[in-house]
């Protein structure tokens, strides 16, 4: 049981912590207890890759606790530098990024998992890597490219979307993340007739919530972008040309009644200014559950007649964003059957969920299929949950640590990521 405890003099900008790195042999995993006793940030100074002799180095995570070497974890926490060799491995999203990048975008079970494990680890998978490579190589003078993630329920579409969003935000793009478009077409208590357009309807609560989260994500852009047009809200209130976007957003959050129109104005401004030559930024529009924009709604007008999606201001404006008549960014969308209305539960292919109208609007788009876990990815996920047995007592059942148990898990979950997560949750 010989092991080394070197203390490497890594220069870090966070001088109050000391990293202690451990060397392990992959075949013979051992647990070594750290002596670091303060919280460290996992922002890596330089990327470390798994070397040929099978040794890996791992830094201590967000809190004081023992860490093990893992072939399922990678040090490469920057999505831009991840490549095929990291396929199947987990990378940790730094804590500081978590609340700014994903105030509302993550799947709810994953959020619970993050709270429990105290770290957010995302697996590097093929669809996300493909997306990121397209985003890297695309030419942003051309009209916007639309990417559509599709796959069966629970296969990891939202997580891949969040991975791509993380990439965009680390690269300094402006991220417009709509966590679930279905939330805008159902369960809306208040529907106000729009002041701007007579036949449309506003949704003040949803719009102001979204604006708040948008503000959290893109703080640094809000002062830089200036409005190109004057917006008149009421007889006495208007926002002048040249004011920063932040002012508009703040107004939308505080004045809930006109928040839907503010959303429309924000989207329009961003569309005009993205990819511009002076102070140009790249715009990433990430929509989860995009099939909600072209279906039916469960909302009813006062005379009990159904509301069509295009009669909702929010949906109308979002559809304009998804068109490719602007340039300087990308539209990444996922299909979701889970929240969708009037769609059969086995539907997952694009045309089934989008419908004719949706398909024609999105056409031409690049479909990116998200499949269930492969052998390697399943291994990785299993080891990740097993890893937490020692620190978080996750996979507690003794049978789950055996080969037999693993085969049972494979059989029960059919390698479906969300099913596996639910199974392991009560093991």
């Amino acid at each position: 049981m010989a092991y080394l405890l070197p203390s490497l003099p890594y220069p870090t900008s966070f001088a109050n912590t000391v990293y202690i790195l451990f060397f392990y042999c992959i075949i013979d995993c051992m647990f070594v207890y750290s002596m670091c006793n303060s919280v460290c940030v996992v922002a890596q100074v330089r990327p470390l890759h798994g070397s040929g002799c099978g040794q890996q180095q791992e830094a201590v995570g967000m809190e004081t606790r023992p860490e093990t070497v893992s072939i399922f974890r990678t040090q490469e926490n920057d999505p831009a530098c991840q490549s095929e060799q990291h396929l199947g491995q987990y990378y940790t999203v730094p804590a500081s990024h978590f609340h700014t990048v994903f105030p509302h975008g993550l799947p709810p079970r994953y959020q619970q998992q993050v709270k429990t494990f105290n770290e957010g680890c995302v697996m590097v998978r093929q669809p996300a890597l493909e997306l990121i490579s397209h985003l890297k190589r695309a030419d942003y003078i051309n009209p916007t490219l639309r990417y559509l993630l599709y796959g069966v329920k629970g296969s990891g579409k939202t997580m891949s979307l969040c991975h791509a969003v993380h990439y965009c935000s680390t690269q300094g793009w402006l991220v417009l993340h709509i966590p679930d478009a279905h939330l805008w077409v159902k369960n809306c208590k208040e529907l106000l007739p729009s002041s701007y357009h007579a036949s449309r309807f506003d949704q003040p609560i949803q719009a102001s919530n979204w604006l708040r989260n948008f503000r959290t994500t893109n703080e640094h852009f809000l002062s830089k972008i200036k409005l190109r047009q004057r917006y008149v809200w009421t007889k006495r209130e208007s926002t002048e040309e040249g004011r920063p976007l932040g002012e508009l957003v703040d107004m939308g959050v505080s004045r809930v009644k006109s928040s839907s129109d503010v959303v429309g104005a924000v989207l329009k401004e961003l569309r005009l200014q993205a990819g511009g030559t002076e102070g140009g930024f790249r715009l990433a529009v990430a929509v989860d559950g995009v099939n909600g924009l072209w279906g039916r709604t469960t909302l009813k007008k006062e005379d009990k007649s159904p509301v069509a999606p295009e009669e909702l201001t929010l949906v109308h404006n979002l559809r304009k964003m998804i068109n490719n008549d602007w340039c300087g960014g990308a539209v990444i969308a996922t299909l979701s059957q889970t929240g969708s209305l009037y769609a059969p539960s086995s539907a997952y292919l694009p045309q089934e969920l989008l419908g004719e109208e949706g398909f024609d609007s999105m056409d031409p788009f690049i479909p990116v299929p998200v499949s269930l876990y492969s052998e390697k990815e399943f291994e990785s996920c299993y080891l990740y949950y097993l890893d937490h047995i020692h620190f978080h007592h996750w996979l507690q059942h003794p049978h789950s640590q055996t080969e037999e148990g693993k085969k049972e898990l494979i059989f029960l979950s059919n390698r479906n990521p969300s099913v596996l997560e639910r199974l392991c949750a009560f093991l």
């Binding site: 030419d139 051309n142 009209p143 490719n324 056409d363 031409p364 690049i366 479909p367």
Partner: protein, 301 residues
Amino acid sequence: MAAHTLKKSIWSIGRIHCHVYGVNVRNPLNRATYATALSTNHSSQNKGFPDRGNRGPFNRRSRREAGDPRTDRMPVDQDWTTVYPTATPFRQGSVPLPVRMGFPVKKGVPPEKKGNLELIKIPNFLHLTPLAIKKHCEALKPFCTEWPSALDTGAKCDEHFPIKVESKDYVSAGTSLRNPSARIVHLRVSLSACVNYDYAMYLLTVLYHESWKMEAWESEKTVADMEEYSWEDSPSQKNIMSTLVRMQVAGEGEGEAVREELLGRPEVQEYRDSVTRLKNEGESESSMHQYRDAVKKLLNL
């Protein structure tokens, strides 16, 4: 002794004239009634209450105990046609199968057959087992005539009976006993059997010319009425044209010339094929992959 016999005779009369003694003649308890000196009057249970017949809270007397269900006494090789000779509702005591039917309550299973109204409501075909049908056929045979021996080959049947009418009957257990597919009847005639060749040619010519005639309402055919998807003039084509034009792929030039040139490109052709396939054949993984490759090539990814 005489009094004894007298009592006995009165007792025996009493069994017939029930109202005299206030005892129900049909002795449900199957107890032997003894003619003894003491009248073992089972009306002691009555306790002086007026006879209410079979009703009332104390009608234990009239109630016969249910025996064992028939299923307990069924041998494996029994004749099922005696159990269900005709169409009758489901009797749980006669069907030796552990069927369950109904909506399961929370954390439960569908309810069992005992006292299950769902099983009684639905039509059942327990009286139509193959054996029963065989018996029916056997019973019907005396009333049937024999197949004519001269018609032993298919060719001879076709020769003598060129027109064949096919109709289908459906057996189903559902909310309705009618099946719309049963309304379809096929009438087949072999053209070579037609003797009136000239008339047939005349008919075909007329039909051909009629089919070319356009009615006024046919021009109102919309995209939704089309049987097949055609890519020309579809939103897909418009989208891709505008995208390509904006991508400045075609180079300089205006209007029609640019469009023609773009349409002629192999990538656009591939794209058109993939979209047509998606829309006409429906979606599948392979058609999605084809579409994906076509789009990637077109947009230079």
